[in-house]
Structure formats: structure tokens, C-alpha cells
């Protein structure tokens, strides 16, 4: 038997070809593996980021190469009330929407963490607003906010009789601002809830049992176990949420396009309006660049204010 198998031993392994040996070299393989991702990101992300900062200091328009104008774009923007209005609304929009999203999202996560029938089905349903295209649901909200045929107005005026006239959701400044925030919160809750649910499930039940034995009230258990244990995940999710709310574009563009009278412009929609249809690429880029300090500040804030807690608890720092 062993004699019959012996010839096979000789031919068992083919010598690898030169190409295969070339790719077995670790340095070559590392470079080859990283090349597509790093190449694409360098060309379409790092370079445009630099180009954007450069454009902000030029007076480029569509179809014409600009010349270096220094801080002129920023000086112009500093004296532009519409720009400051957009800065104000961006900050306001982000702050209010983030607070609401996290308050309601945490509540929903706590509810989903309980034992209920159809648990997985409910979780699947809850994520729907987050996976459907934002613009398409934004159009649905636009229709819900219609001045004449709003379903909310119908319920309040006809069905309940609590009001005599329709709501004018998008017709004036503040109602329009809050209507947009409501739509943003609606879309953001699922992501926050499901992410925090994941965090809740990593908390060991024995902590709650120990607290129960010590006589802790439900509020104390929430305050001294759930919140501190959730903070690391909360920090990450909040960083993402703040960044993507602050730079939101779709929702505002789809529902109000910055109106009425520029009151709901956020920086991204203003940058688009000035840059692409307006043709002032330099000015648009300057508005976009003006977002960067806010983003860095938001990232640093949530990182240091919240993630710091992790190493204070003495956990591993990975």
C-alpha cells in the first residue's frame, strides 16, 4: 500500500510559478492588496479634499479657472447674513435633532431590549426608515406637510376639531425649521436605537442582579449601570450622528430647498446652491470648507467628553 502511494509523493506539490512566488512576497502582497482601496481613496477623497480647500481661496466659476484671491471669499461670506443664517440653522438643526434622536432612540432601545412577542420582526420594522432612500421618504414628508392636504392638519381640524385652520408647516420660518428637524429625527431614530440596543446587549445581567440585591431603584440602575456602560458606544454613535446631521443635504434640499426666504438653509444646501446652479465654485467651496472646523470640534468633543470615560473605568484601551 505504501509502495503504491510512493510515486504520488513526488508529484504531490507543483513548484509555484514565478508569478505566484512574486505575490507570495509579503511586501509585494501588502502593496498589491492596499493599492485599490488606497488608490481610490487618494484620488477621489484626499485629493478633492485638498482641492476643495484650494478652491475656497480662488474665484473659480463653472467653465473658468479661478485665480488666487486669498481670504476674499471668506471676507465676503463673513458679511453675508444668509451665510450666518445657514451657520445658525446648521448648529440649531444638529443640536436639536441630535438631542431628540438620542433621547427617543435610547428610549426605543430600552423598549426593544425587553422581552416582547415578535421581537425580531419589530427590530426589522424599526430599521425601515433608515434603509429607505432619504429623498424618497423626504418627499413623503413634504406631502405630509402640504399646506392644503396635510394629513396632520386633517386630523387636527376635521377629525378632532382642535384647530380651525390648517397648519402651515413649511410656509414660515420657525415651523419650517422644526418640520425639517422632525423629519430628520424620524429618519435618525432607528440607527441610534439599533446601535444602542447592541450596546445594551453587551451589559452583563449580573450587574443588574447585584444592583437589585442592593436595593437600587429602576432609575438608579439606569443611571449608574446602563448609562456608564453605554457611554463608549454612545460616543461613537453620537460622533457619527452629529457629523452626518451637520452635513445633511438631502432632507433639506428635498423638502424646502432652503426656503422660505433662506430660513432653512444649512451649510451644505447653501454651498450647493451657490456652487453648482449658481456657478460660483470658489464661494461654494469656501462654504463647504467652513464646515470643517465644526466637524473637527464635534468629533473632538464627543471623543473627549464621552470616550474618556472608557479608560477611567480601567478597561482595555483597544
Amino acid at each position: 500500500m505504501s509502495a503504491a502511494a510512493e510515486p504520488h509523493w513526488v508529484h504531490a506539490r507543483k513548484e509555484p510559478t514565478a508569478l505566484a512566488r512574486f505575490f507570495d512576497n509579503k511586501a509585494v502582497l501588502v502593496i498589491a492588496c492596499l493599492f485599490p482601496a488606497v488608490g481610490l481613496l487618494t484620488v477621489f477623497l484626499t485629493y478633492p479634499l485638498g482641492l476643495g480647500v484650494f478652491l475656497a481661496f480662488t474665484d473659480t466659476t463653472i467653465g473658468r479657472r479661478g485665480v488666487w484671491v486669498g481670504l476674499e471669499n471668506f471676507q465676503y461670506l463673513a458679511s453675508d447674513p444668509i451665510f450666518w443664517g445657514a451657520v445658525f440653522y446648521s448648529v440649531f438643526y444638529t443640536a436639536v435633532a441630535t438631542v431628540l434622536k438620542f433621547a427617543l432612540g435610547l428610549w426605543l432601545a430600552l423598549l426593544l431590549n425587553q422581552h416582547t412577542p415578535f421581537k425580531s420582526l419589530i427590530r426589522a420594522i424599526v430599521l425601515l426608515p433608515w434603509i429607505t432612500p432619504t429623498v424618497l421618504t423626504a418627499i413623503a414628508f413634504w406631502w405630509i406637510y402640504d399646506p392644503q392636504f396635510s394629513i396632520i392638519s386633517w386630523v387636527f381640524v376635521e377629525a378632532l376639531g382642535w384647530r380651525t385652520e390648517n397648519f402651515n408647516f413649511l410656509g414660515s420660518e420657525w415651523p419650517a425649521r422644526f418640520s425639517l428637524i422632525a423629519a430628520n429625527v424620524w429618519r435618525g431614530i432607528p440607527f441610534v436605537a439599533i446601535s444602542l440596543l447592541a450596546g445594551l446587549q453587551t451589559i452583563s445581567p449580573s450587574l443588574y442582579e447585584a444592583a437589585l440585591l442592593d436595593g437600587a431603584t429602576p432609575w438608579q440602575r439606569f443611571r449608574y449601570i446602563t448609562v456608564p456602560m453605554l457611554l463608549p458606544i454612545l460616543a461613537i454613535v453620537m460622533t457619527f450622528s452629529i457629523i452626518f446631521t451637520f452635513t445633511d443635504f438631502q432632507l433639506v434640499y428635498a423638502i424646502t430647498r432652503g426656503g422660505p426666504v433662506n430660513s432653512t438653509h444649512i451649510l451644505a444646501t447653501l454651498a450647493f446652491q451657490r456652487g453648482i446652479p449658481g456657478g460660483q465654485l470658489g464661494e461654494g467651496a469656501a462654504i463647504a470648507v467652513a464646515m470643517i472646523p465644526f466637524l473637527v470640534a464635534a468629533t473632538l468633543f464627543s471623543y473627549f467628553a464621552l470616550a474618556r470615560r472608557k479608560w477611567q473605568q480601567g478597561e482595555g484601551n483597544d
Binding site: 506539490r13 505575490f23 507570495d24 509579503k26 502582497l29 501588502v30 498589491a32 492596499l34 485599490p36 482601496a37 488606497v38 481613496l41 477621489f44 477623497l45 484626499t46 478633492p48 479634499l49 482641492l51 476643495g52 478652491l55 473659480t60 426605543l108 425587553q114 422581552h115 416582547t116 419589530i122 424599526v126 425601515l128 434603509i131 432612500p133 432619504t134 429623498v135 424618497l136 421618504t137 418627499i139 406631502w143 402640504d146 392636504f149 424620524w186 431614530i189 440607527f191 439599533i194 446601535s195 440596543l197 447592541a198 445594551l200 446587549q201 445581567p205 443635504f249 438631502q250 434640499y253 428635498a254 451644505a268 450647493f272 453648482i276 465654485l281 467651496a285 463647504a288 464646515m291 466637524l295
Partner: protein, 287 residues
């Protein structure tokens, strides 16, 4: 892990209904209502749509396919759907290819500075499209790709690759390294290890990354709005907003039908892979 009921003796049924089921039902109602409203509107005839006095707006009395019919046969909707699908598949494929290799290199080849490459890719995810679209628009024009779906296929990976790489690094971490060591001892080359050992084991991770990439590129809006001009090359979200919203009187029936049809592919896709979705979303956050 926490699947055991957390009910305690004093947790009466009434109390549970008030603190758990009532808020949960309210949440589900609010989260689903816009979809219900979208669907109802899409099937209502125009007469019913604008006449709340004689019809209960929450119900369709005489359902009609007129809006969907108009959408499919009087507009370029099928064409937009097709473009969106091609762009989503193209950019998903490109991103999966690039991020699998990158995640493998960062997580398994462990070269000097691999954490920094990982960190750099992670930071790239924090650069939002709203900052990049103006410089990218000028680049796209210079490359002669303006108004071409190819521009979208090339640009979407900028936000897909960081996300997919991040997700896959986490997934590769969960595959025992010993398996690769065994293969190395048996004389497999590193490429053979990748294709014959790591990738087959990482299929669930690849599926998660793939569906996320597909959904994200289906939903993308600002690049598609800035780079595409001609009607027939538009993607569904952009086309609905720019082609169907015309004049002062909005065709709400057709708009809602378009939104419904545009959401359906993603929802169907989602319903097939819902477990991957939830687990990878939570896994990505835990990383």
C-alpha cells in the same frame, strides 16, 4: 444573552402594557406612518386625493393603478431604475473588491504601520460628501466623465470603501488565525490562503458589507445631483425630485408612486438579509 424575560413578580401586566407596549406601538406607528401614507397616496385616484370632505383620507375607496401606469409608461422611470441598479451594483462590486483586499492586508498581513492605515481608512469615513462634491464636480468635468453614470461608480467607493473595510476588518478578526497558520505550514501561498481559507469563511461578512454598500449607493443623492445633468442618466432619487416635481401643482400621486417603487428594491433586498443587516450594524458599532 439577555433573552430571558426580565419580568419580575411585581411587574404587573397593566404596568407592562403602559410602560412597554403602549410606547412601543406609538414608536412603530410613527415610524411606519409615512410609508403607509406613501402607499395609500400612490393608489388613490386624483379625485379622492384632493377631496377629504367626502372620503376618509386614511383609506382608498377606489384603488387605481393610474399613477404607477403613468410613471412606468409616460416617464423614463424604468430607465432611471436601471441606471440606479447599474450604479449600485458597479460601485458595490468595486468597493467590495478593494475593501476585502485592504481589510485582509490590514488585519492579517500585519505589516509595520498597519494600524495607521486602518485608522486612515476609518477617518476617511468621517469626511462627508457635502464637503467633497464641489471639488469632485470639477474633477469629474476635467476627466470628461460629467453626466456619465461611470463617474458615480468611481466616486461612490469613497464612502463605501471606508465603511466596508471597517466592517470586514472586524469580521476577519473573528476568523481564527490558526487556520491560516495551518495552511501556511501545509505550504499554501498567501494568495491561496486568502482565496481558499479566509474568503470562504468570511462570506457572511462579505454579504453584510455588500448589502450595506448596495443600500448606501442606492440612497446616495448629492453626487448624483451634482454630476448628472441629462434626464436619462439620472438615478431614481434625483430623477423623482428633479423630473417629476414640475410646475406649481405637484402630481402627488405620481410622486408617491415613484417614491414607493424607488424604495421597494431596497426594502425587498433588506427583507432577505435582515439578520445580516442588524448583526453587522451592531457589530460595526462594537468594533
Amino acid at each position: 444573552m439577555t433573552d430571558a424575560p426580565e419580568t419580575l413578580a411585581w411587574d404587573s401586566k397593566a404596568r407592562r402594557a403602559m410602560t412597554l407596549y403602549l410606547p412601543l406601538c406609538l414608536f412603530i406607528f410613527v415610524l411606519l406612518f409615512p410609508f403607509y401614507w406613501m402607499t395609500v397616496t400612490a393608489f388613490k385616484p386624483d379625485g379622492e386625493l384632493y377631496d377629504f370632505a367626502n372620503n376618509n383620507p386614511f383609506w382608498v375607496n377606489s384603488p387605481t393603478l393610474a399613477h404607477i401606469n403613468k410613471l412606468l409608461f409616460e416617464t423614463s422611470y424604468p430607465r432611471w431604475l436601471w441606471t440606479t441598479m447599474m450604479v449600485a451594483f458597479g460601485s458595490t462590486f468595486l468597493s467590495l473588491f478593494a475593501s476585502t483586499l485592504a481589510a485582509y492586508a490590514v488585519q492579517r498581513l500585519r505589516f509595520k504601520g498597519s494600524q495607521y492605515v486602518g485608522l486612515g481608512i476609518y477617518l476617511a469615513y468621517l469626511v462627508p460628501p457635502s464637503i467633497l462634491f464641489i471639488p469632485l464636480a470639477t474633477m469629474v468635468v476635467q476627466l470628461g466623465l460629467f453626466d456619465s453614470p461611470l463617474a458615480l461608480i468611481l466616486v461612490y467607493p469613497t464612502f463605501l470603501i471606508p465603511f466596508c473595510t471597517w466592517l470586514l476588518i472586524g469580521y476577519f478578526k473573528s476568523i481564527p488565525y490558526e487556520l491560516e497558520e495551518c495552511a501556511l505550514i501545509d505550504g499554501a501561498t498567501r494568495l491561496q490562503i486568502l482565496t481558499k481559507i479566509t474568503l470562504p469563511l468570511a462570506v457572511p461578512g462579505l454579504i453584510s458589507a455588500g448589502i450595506f454598500a448596495f443600500t448606501l449607493s442606492w440612497n446616495e443623492f448629492i453626487y448624483a445631483l451634482a454630476f448628472i445633468q441629462s434626464s436619462e442618466n439620472k438615478t431614481v432619487p434625483v430623477a423623482i425630485l428633479t423630473e417629476l416635481v414640475t410646475g406649481d401643482v405637484y402630481q402627488w400621486g405620481a410622486l408617491m408612486a415613484g417614491s414607493l417603487l424607488g424604495s421597494l428594491p431596497v426594502v425587498i433586498f433588506y427583507s432577505f438579509f435582515v439578520d445580516y443587516y442588524v448583526s453587522s450594524l451592531t457589530g460595526a458599532v462594537k468594533e
